[in-house]
Amino acid sequence: MADIVISDLSKMYGGKRVLDRVAMHIVDGEFIAVLGPSGCGKTTLLRLLAGFETPDEGTIQLGDRIVSSREANVPPEKRNIGIVFQNYALWPHMSVADNVGYALKIAGASTQERLQRSRDALAVVGMENLAERAPSDLSGGQRQRVALARCLAAKPSVMLLDEPLANLDVHLRAAMENEFVRFHRHTGATMVYITHDQSEAMALADRIAVIDRGRLVQFDRPRDLYREPQSEMVARFIGNGQVLPVQDVRPDADAAIVSIFGKDHRVRARRSEQVRSSARLSVHTSAMRLAQPGEDGFAGKVERVIYRGNHSQVDFLVTAEPDLQLTLHAPADVAIPSDDTIQVCISDGWVIPAAA
């Protein structure tokens, strides 16, 4: 079992803590996405996992061996990891087959074994016919596949992927997302996938680690991140979430009654939620709608309506709190004039737990 155990990992650059006591346990065979805005420290985490950097505090354990600590650092070439680099880093002076077989050559495998395993790895990504090409003759998507095959051929215990789709155009991304899922299923390798794109992370990962300003803010399954964000940052970051101030939190079994701009609503909350005078509520756009005639909602003043084809995006200011701008999706055939006052209903929400 090659679980990865990261404990209290910190890294400083010039006195600034770019990674701050991060702790995670990644189970063998899991597909993990590390998600965060640019500059949050996710690349530093990858470089620590790979062994290119040494931590200032904490340890990384790979299987039953501590590979990173302040005192000792197993160099990358001795870690049995694989990396798919953002720009693929294919060696331009070697053919596709030589790129893929390089790790085996270094490991001293026989020529026959090397050819066989390179061919197998290329077959997994559907590139066996291009083995003799030079990387410069390949398209972006093909290079990506070669980089994956190169990683695969070495049979690493962990595969690290550094924003592998960032350099591809939009339709190729969708195709490659499918490729990654298939690839993971096929190989069963532990994969750590670094990205700033939350839809990519949601689509691919078993679990997502959200990192913000060097801290691990939540490490959960995509569904839990979306439905039960543990902090305002996660609530806003995932699925274009919106955050509303609510008053008068009254726990009620595994839910809670809260007052949203003076109207009581029943929303989801964690079991241990306490009675509170105020809280923040995570609401997704899909859970907000125009009130039907006679239904009770809160009032808002329409700022702007953008036609999006299958719906209209309505940006409005809450009348009770004029600084707060929210967005809902209305049916495209309902005409909503700007400056109009609308009534808004909330069908679902989640009380963000009080900060620890």
Binding site: F52, R70, E77, Y102, A103, A107, R150, A154
Partner: protein, 577 residues
């Protein structure tokens, strides 16, 4: 106990990466290389100058520097260096402006012809000029002109030295100014045009001020090269009895041998200080109120209109006068049996070439020695620079910076200073081996390795900067150790840059004179100083033949490098437009 424990922690902090062994071994070898060939000799020079008897003795230094001979030589050095730098700045800037900014035709050919003199050894250039303007010049004779006989040769004068140094170093200024002009963002020029500036005001109010940093960078190079240009200063200054610091050092060493070393160390130190101060001042002038701008310049084309044929004619006339005329005089001299003999089909002879290549053992051996020394130097420096650039670009750290600094220092300092330092350092028998390499070919090799390291290193640094570090990291992740990564991934990728560096070193070292002039002995001679010895000995025609052979070697190398230029990083071959 506590103290020991703390020391250990400190050590860890300084070396956090815990690099694998091979990397440390290589870094250690590089440190020994630079320390033994650059740092220690220069340190030895400084100590000998300031404290010849083991204690600091500034009184002796002051007394020596106050001698009339030394004062005159210092003044002369400054005069020729400053005035020739000024000339080079004017010529280089005009040339760069013409080729980058105007619609002059045949630019590629002109740039090649303008930069070519830089590749020709200065002692050969000086010889060519001397022969072109001598009263019995074969070329002037052909043109029906002649200088009146009697009296001194017009170039054996301070003016002659300044003129030749200025012409010789104009390409240096040209290259840096051209680079600066090419970097100018086109928007700045377009904005000025929109504000109503026409071509000429545009050049003087916008373009040249913005290219100032490049101009002074070139000026610094020209100044340093003028101070240390032994070839021209010796060929013209010694007959003119116009001593400069380097010719003074040369003559004193010739007259008194190693016993004059302590005093020469003082002069060498003075020369290094002049060099460093000169570089510092032009650096300051270039940076003051720095307005460095970088962008992808779209080329601006100032239309010369009806002036174009005139400008073109003048610029080609310049090439004819400063290059074609002296070189043809050199060639003409090399194919007659006696200097001053009229050139005709009857007098035409290849006997000088036969003597140089076959009959005269000393010249033939000098050619072979230079070829051998240069080849060994190139081979060693290519390997050293590949590894050193790896540490400089990708590993950084204070130790590596010091290594880089010393490699640049031994390149920038006048070669004759390095030669004095080398003699001082290697005069005594080597430890363990028990013999001295002074007077042998090995001291010249040591000096070449030290002097040309920076030249080999520069293109490789550029090569490393162009490749993505992820290339190496990918190999590391694949399990390759340091040496395997070097062999399989890094060296194949930067090899073209290393070859470019090797070519530059080959061209510079093959005909080199500054460093070897003090290191050659009666047994071991290189070809660079040969021209000076032959000319001093009165064999002008033989000297001319040797000079022509040296130029031919340079041209062949340039041609070969040009053929490979598409594999080389952009901008490493200075003569390409």
């Amino acid at each position: 106990m506590a103290l020991i424990a703390m020391e250990k922690v400190e050590e860890r902090r300084r070396l956090p990466a815990l690099l694998p062994k091979a990397e440390w071994v290589v870094l250690g070898l590089l440190v020994i290389f630079v320390a033994g060939l650059s740092f220690a000799p220069l340190l030895r020079l400084a100590i000998t100058a300031i404290a010849p008897a083991g204690v600091i003795d500034l009184g002796h230094v002051a007394e020596l520097l106050w001698k009339k001979k030394v004062l005159t030589a210092s003044t002369n050095t400054l005069v020729v260096a400053l005035l020739s730098t000024l000339l080079a700045m004017v010529l280089g800037t005009v040339a760069a402006a013409l080729t980058v900014l105007t619609d002059m035709r045949f630019k590629t050919a002109w740039v090649f012809a303008f930069v070519l003199p830089l590749m020709i050894p200065p002692q050969v250039t000086a010889l060519a000029w001397v022969q072109a303007f001598s009263p019995s010049s074969p070329v002037l004779g052909l043109l029906g002109l002649s200088l009146h006989d009697g009296g001194r040769h017009p170039l054996y004068s301070p003016g002659g030295i300044i003129l030749l140094l200025g012409f010789y170093h104009a390409p240096l200024v040209f290259l840096t100014v051209r680079a600066a002009l090419r970097r100018l963002p086109a928007e700045l020029v377009e904005a000025a045009r929109a504000a109503g500036a026409t071509s000429w005001p545009l050049i003087f109010t916008i373009i040249l001020p913005l290219a100032r940093a490049g101009l002074f960078a070139g000026a610094a190079l020209a100044f340093v090269s003028s101070i240390s240009n032994f070839g021209i200063q010796a060929m013209l200054g010694i007959p003119a009895r116009y001593p400069t610091l380097i010719t003074l050092i040369y003559q004193q060493m010739n007259s008194y041998g190693p016993s004059a070393l302590a005093d020469m160390a003082v002069l060498a130190l003075l020369l290094s200080i002049l060099t460093i101060v000169g570089v510092a001042i032009s650096g300051w002038l270039g940076q003051r109120g720095d307005v460095r701008v970088d962008g992808i310049g779209r080329s601006l084309e100032i239309r010369l209109g009806r002036w174009r044929p005139i400008v073109e004619a003048v610029s080609w006339l310049f090439i004819v006068l400063t290059m074609a005329l002296p070189l043809s005089a050199l060639v003409a001299t090399s194919v007659v049996t006696g200097f001053g003999q009229e050139l005709s089909w009857k007098t035409l002879t290849l006997v000088n070439y036969a003597n140089a290549l076959v009959h005269q053992a000393s010249i033939r051996n000098a050619f072979l020695t230079s070829l051998l020394l240069t080849s060994i130097t190139v081979a060693i420096l290519m390997i050293v620079s590949l590894f050193m650039a790896y540490f400089i670009v990708w590993k950084r750290g204070p130790l590596v910076r010091v290594l880089h600094l010393f490699s640049e220092l031994t390149y920038a300092l006048p070669g004759i200073i390095l030669a004095v330092a080398m003699i001082l350092f290697f005069l005594r028998p080597l430890p363990v081996l028990g013999f001295s390499i002074y007077g042998t070919v090995w001291i010249i090799l040591a000096a070449y390795l030290s002097s040309f390291l920076a030249l080999a290193l520069r293109p490789v640094l550029g090569g490393f900067a162009q490749i993505d570090r992820a290339m190496e990291e990918a190999a590391q992740v694949a399990g390759a150790g340091f040496l395997a990564r070097m062999r399989d991934v890094i060296i194949p990728l930067v090899a073209p840059a290393a070859v470019a560096g090797g070519v530059m070193v080959f061209m510079s070292a093959l005909n080199e004179i500054q460093v070897s002039i003090l290191l050659v002995s009666s047994n071991v001679r290189t070809i660079g100083p040969m021209v000076v010895f032959l000319e001093e000995g009165g064999s002008s025609t033989l000297a001319a033949a040797v000079g022509c052979l040296m130029i031919a070697a340079v041209l062949i190398l340039m041609l070969a490098a040009t053929c490979f230029s598409r594999y080389l990083p952009k901008g490493v071959l200075p003569w390409q437009n």
